[in-house]
Symmetry: C2
Subunit: 308 residues, 2 copies
């Protein structure tokens, strides 16, 4: 495999000030693998679902080249379910309900093809599960990890163990501050890189994303959208575009990571345009190219004249 992603494959109920959608397909691994599918063909997903998960969506994912042999289906159980409500400021949301359901049974066993993956994406999950997957892969060229404040609150020791073993960590700004106990994002980034990762990506939602290594920093804006219908999964979609682009190019230089951040940001902007994964199911290459060009235009300026 070129890329293996572990994460949830699930249902969401989503409420925003502008509408609602019930029991739409969601889950970190769903968003990540769909976004990555525009850049890599040989990718697999490690997850678990109940017998309520729609076959139709699994067909559509397979049509996009996503191998689902790593997704265990458990008869008589329900898929992971999350329900959330966004406020007028779409950067904040409340979780109304979380039903772990079949996720409690997730104990990943990777087959040989998956073990040999070149790229590994650890989607947001219990770090115990993330570590089990990391233990089974043989020699990935790059490991990217996503996580969230819940695991910092409840499993900090295990979380830090996994963080110490990955190449790139993606978290949001308040999580970076929480994990490092530093208010300045610059200081937070350096403290987190001391824990192990060579790179840190700080996701700021509608305010863009920052990429740090020990000596450099890069900023990518989020695209100002006419309408944000549903930001659910935008962070995962970003991660999928990011690692998918890296897997396709095979170049892990800082300059190429910058491009991967722009690609991830472009994919995330599509995600927000409709509820659930709908917008990610059949994007055209020229839509993606045009969207990336919008990022170029958004930040492009000619500084030479400033110094005259």
């Amino acid at each position: 495999m070129k890329l293996v992603t572990v994460g949830t494959v699930a249902f969401d109920n989503i409420e925003t000030p502008f509408g609602r959608a019930d029991k739409v397909v969601g889950g970190a691994a769903t968003y990540i693998s769909l976004a990555a599918s525009y850049f890599v063909r040989q990718q697999g997903v490690v997850s678990i679902v109940g017998d309520d998960f729609p076959q139709g969506m699994m067909h559509r994912m397979r049509d996009r080249g996503i191998d689902l042999d790593g997704v265990e289906m458990v008869q008589g159980k329900e898929s992971f379910f999350w329900s959330g409500k966004y406020h007028y400021d779409m950067n904040s949301r409340d979780t109304l309900e979380t039903r772990l359901n079949v996720l409690l049974d997730l104990d990943p066993k990777l087959n040989d093809t998956y073990r040999g993956t070149e790229y590994l994406m650890l989607g947001n999950l219990d770090p115990v599960i993330q570590a089990k997957v990391l233990d089974q892969v043989e020699s990935p060229a790059l490991v990217v990890m996503d996580t969230m404040n819940f695991w910092m609150d409840n499993s900090l020791e295990k979380l830090r163990e996994v963080v110490s073993r990955v190449d790139i960590l993606t978290i949001n700004d308040s999580e970076a501050r929480q994990l490092s106990d530093e208010h300045s994002l610059v200081k937070a980034a350096h403290a987190i890189m001391e824990m192990g990762p060579k790179y840190l990506v700080v996701k700021k939602g509608e305010h863009g994303a920052l990429l740090f290594n020990k000596s450099r920093v890069f900023f990518a804006p989020a695209l100002p959208l006419d309408e944000v219908i549903d930001p659910t999964g935008a962070g995962d979609t970003f991660a999928g575009g990011f690692i998918g682009y890296l897997a396709r190019s095979g170049d892990h230089s800082f300059n190429n990571l910058k491009r991967a951040i722009i690609v991830g940001s472009a994919m995330a902007s599509f995600c927000c345009e409709k509820f659930g994964v709908e917008r990610l199911l059949d994007l055209k290459q020229d839509e993606i190219d045009q969207r990336i060009q919008q990022f170029v235009d958004l930040v492009d300026f000619d500084i030479s004249l400033v110094r005259e």
Copy 2:
């Protein structure tokens, strides 16, 4: 005059999670004119102070080429005073106390040199005062206006009258949403430009700034700083660098406004490094050049390879 700024010249008490400073010199016109002084020499300030305002600071402003003939000094009265407290998230603050003091007497009468100004900066003030200044200038090449939610809450009709008469409005993201009654910043920007201004600058503090005209948008990040000591005046400093750069170059094209946004952002980043205006009193040209180069590096990426 090349540039005239109307706004407060005042004292601030500032409390942050990392320190406090009492009775430091502040005020919108102070920050704006000091920031602009790195780009224009012939500029004047229209304001009012009490007899408590330090002569030493007025000397330092004059040393930077700032004409203070438009600043009325009233014996026996105290200068405008603001006291505020920042929280851990430095993007939000509480006003603890506002004493208008001598500001209640401000009734600007511009002399001939001021009336003939090429550039006019209407700092955040009662729109009635902003209108009085606008009425007195003859034919400025460009008028930039700053304001805040207080005037939207309390003087909306007068505010909208002034907005309709300016070329560029600078406000923050929540104010843009309030003024337009639109949640999407893209829609908000277009609604506000329908009110009169050809350009809108949306200031997002540590999340950067957006520049809109009717067909284009540009985003400039804020520089991630190791330490933000005091963000007071950063928005005014941004405006000062912005209009100062435009006044020096005389070019009001969208491409040059983009450069002016970067220059303003660079000046604002200096402002945050110390309490009050201290950091703006004697910057060196090479410090400014280096800071601008940091913005280039922060957002620069080579997209050609993304499309391969």
